[in-house]
């Protein structure tokens, strides 16, 4: 897994990248009550807000970590937003993206680097 400074994790799955948020981020957000996802097929640029997470406290945006196309979104989050707190690293992934330029993934943090950042 790779990690961004915005507390997202990226898991490479063939030619796709799966995007979610870290346990640390989920804990900071508090109880998630609503997740707004983009539509599959949306072309996005790195830094575009693609997901809105509403917790009981506030709304937070999740930015696209890389340029590419959103090819699949996790519809289970619409009915069960609490998955983000229960299983942030697993079943609560947000989107799968087809990456325009795989070299963009090289700049992200390793797990150890991410752990150092939040320590």
């Amino acid at each position: 897994m790779k990690y961004t400074e915005d507390h997202e994790w990226l898991r490479v799955d063939g030619d796709l990248v799966v995007v979610g948020i870290t346990e640390h981020a989920a804990e900071q957000l508090g109880d998630v009550v609503f997740v707004e996802l983009p539509e599959a097929g949306t072309q996005v640029s790195s830094g575009d807000d693609i997901v809105v997470i509403e917790s009981v406290k506030a709304a937070s945006d999740i930015a696209a970590p890389v340029d590419g196309e959103v090819v699949e979104v996790n519809d289970a989050l619409a009915d069960t937003p609490g998955l983000v707190n229960a299983d942030p690293l697993g079943s609560a992934w947000f989107v799968k993206m087809k990456v325009d330029d795989p070299s963009q993934l090289d700049g992200f943090m390793s797990e150890d680097e991410y752990k150092d950042m939040i320590a």
């Binding site: 508090g30 109880d31 009550v33 809105v52 009981v56 709304a59």
Partner: protein, 372 residues
């Protein structure tokens, strides 16, 4: 955190692993280990303990109680003279233009009045009271903490320590003894639940808090759940839902203005902004605070503009909103032009550039459970 005040329960919050945030100049717990959702639901199902020591407690006294009551009536549209001994009433400090300087509780304690005001406004309130309450002593109480115990199990939990609280009704106030410590108790709160607010000398506050938390029914509750609880109960947050730009009638707080202070009443007017407020009581205000139920699951928070369907001219705004854990759905409140304030009216809120349908709804969103 630098430059922030701490309440007498600060160390206890830290030991309970609270997440502390700055609020109204204080370092306050926003949530504890279980999180906002659980704290909210637990309060409605059992009982929750809130540290509200940041709020202002102010004693108003004079040569006679009546002098103090009549003096305060010059600043609030409330019948202060009509508050019986041992009772309290919700009130508003109004401005010359009919806006709201603060909302507060006014208790008649027999010998004096005890006011509880908002944390963010307490200094300006004390200055305003001191400058304008003729013949009165205005004394901020700075050596006492304020705890709130809210929820259906509150009576049993507090009465186990202080049996006298069981006899109190909603909005009663009483001075009671607990192990030689003088408690100022009212049966009131900010959650829509039965419960109490207890003023206690700062040095005894932790012992009382721990004694209450020792009950299986009671867990500590932070500001996060305090906000979602009051929102479901349709209660205003000063600075968000009411302020100097909203009048009591616009804010749908007409009920806080008793007949004695209205046109034709025994002590009509005589408070700041009376001409505008009394006129609005008779003829209505151009806009009204209402509840909104958003369609779907997305919370609509402040600020968000409200439109008629398909129109680009705003007719209102959201002033508070979020997810209502006990309702399992988002709820909001705000202002809308009176013409569109009828229950059931469907309007649109603008959220992140998109229009979302909202329906005007009665408040409280969830029936209150006061012990009257």
């Amino acid at each position: 955190m630098p430059n922030l005040n701490r309440t007498p329960l600060h160390d206890l919050h830290c030991e309970l692993d609270a997440r502390m945030v700055p609020f109204a100049g204080y370092e306050m717990p926003v949530q504890y280990y279980d999180g906002v959702l659980w704290e909210h639901l637990h309060t409605r199902a059992s009982a929750g303990l809130f540290d509200v020591s940041h709020m202002g407690q102010v004693r108003v006294s004079a040569d006679s109680l009546e002098v103090a009551q009549l003096a305060l009536e010059a600043l609030v549209p409330v019948s202060v003279l009509g508050i019986p001994e041992g009772r309290q009433r919700y009130g508003l400090l109004t401005s010359e233009t009919g806006g709201i300087l603060d909302d507060l509780m006014i208790a008649n304690r027999g010998d004096d009045l005890l006011l509880v005001v908002n944390a963010a406004t307490k200094e300006q309130d004390v200055a305003h009271l001191s400058a304008n309450l003729a013949g009165c002593a205005v004394t901020p109480i700075t050596d006492r903490a304020l705890l709130a115990l809210q929820g259906p199990a509150s009576e049993a939990a507090l009465a186990a320590l202080v049996p006298g609280v069981a006899e109190m009704r909603f909005m009663d106030t009483s001075v009671l003894d607990w192990r030689g410590v003088e408690l100022w108790v009212s049966r009131s709160g900010y959650t829509g639940e039965d419960g109490y607010e207890v003023s206690i000398p700062s040095s005894n506050a932790r012992t009382l808090a721990e004694a209450l938390l020792a009950s299986e029914a009671v867990i500590p509750i932070g500001l996060g759940a305090r906000d979602s609880l009051r929102l479901e109960a349709g209660l205003c947050l000063y600075g968000s839902d009411i302020d100097t730009t909203t009048t009591p009638v616009e804010a749908a707080l007409d009920w806080a203005i008793q007949k004695a202070r209205r046109r034709g009443g025994e002590r009509e007017g005589g408070f700041p902004g009376a001409s505008r407020i009394l006129e609005e009581l008779e003829s209505g205000a151009p806009r009204r605070r209402v509840g909104f139920l958003p369609d779907g699951r997305a919370p609509i928070r402040a600020p968000a503009r409200i439109f008629r369907i398909g129109s680009d001219d705003p007719v209102g705004e959201i002033t508070s909103g979020g997810f209502g854990p006990s309702l399992g759905r988002p709820v909001s409140m705000g202002y809308v032009e009176t013409e569109f304030s009828g229950t059931g009216t469907v309007l649109e809120a603008e959220v992140r550039g998109r229009r979302m349908p909202v329906t005007v709804a009665d408040m409280p969103f969830r029936p209150s459970t006061f012990k009257r």
